[in-house]
Symmetry: C2
Subunit: 125 residues, 2 copies
Amino acid sequence: MDLQESAENYLETIFILRNRIGAVRSVDIVNELDFTRPSVSVAMKKLRESGHINVDSDGYITLTEIGQKVAEEIYERHSLLSGFLIALGVDKTTAAEDACRIEHIISKQSFEKIQDFVQKEFEKK
Amino acid sequence: MDLQESAENYLETIFILRNRIGAVRSVDIVNELDFTRPSVSVAMKKLRESGHINVDSDGYITLTEIGQKVAEEIYERHSLLSGFLIALGVDKTTAAEDACRIEHIISKQSFEKIQDFVQKEFEKK
DNA sequence: GTGGTAAGTTAGTGTTGACTAACCGAAGAT
DNA sequence: ATCTTCGGTTAGTCAACACTAACTTACCAC
């Protein structure tokens, strides 16, 4: 069973926030994604129950091993896709937005082919 | 108000089917998309009410001017995106599937930049 | 005309994933 | 000590979009 698109997105956001600000609470995700506290709260409950995150008694969120793996995978896709779009001349904001949507729906195969392509382009230069 | 992703998809399918088989009925869309008759029926009702299609007394579906415009736009995106992916080495089926998802969510800007890129690549050869 | 099949419709259901309203506990400020 | 604010939770709602069940109509065969 594949992970839901929204779940992937939450995990990625937790990953990004941890790298940016260190410790991550629900409210940080609320601010980052512009969702409401209840929405994030419910989502965190599901991620807890599915074993993707741990939440300590102070509300601090950490990724489990599985959660970390998913988050990194999505983040890698995000970086590659937005980098690719930026290289084509798309502005940073739009590239990030588009990458954020595409990263969840693109097939492994297409992702890898884009990866190959980007690598080749870099080597060329 | 932007058109729903599913609506875009239905319009594109009608466009494709008309080019392939001439006249299009609900059941043709059912077969093409592997949805159920009720699902398509309800979707067609909405597209009728929103002025994107006309349905004659025999159940034959045609695109209105607006519907045609949307359908062509999406189809153009689809062609470009799947062509691009295929050029990168993605197999036809996967490329079509991915294009079908990406075409609805990508920004105008990114689409245009990919278009520029593809054009440049063609010129090169 | 009775029966079968094809095509469309209506009504109701389930899932995903957001929302608001309202409540609770902890921590600071006065 | 009370009051506010912050962060989190629960419960209920809503929209999109598919589904099944069941009805209708028309047409074809015999």
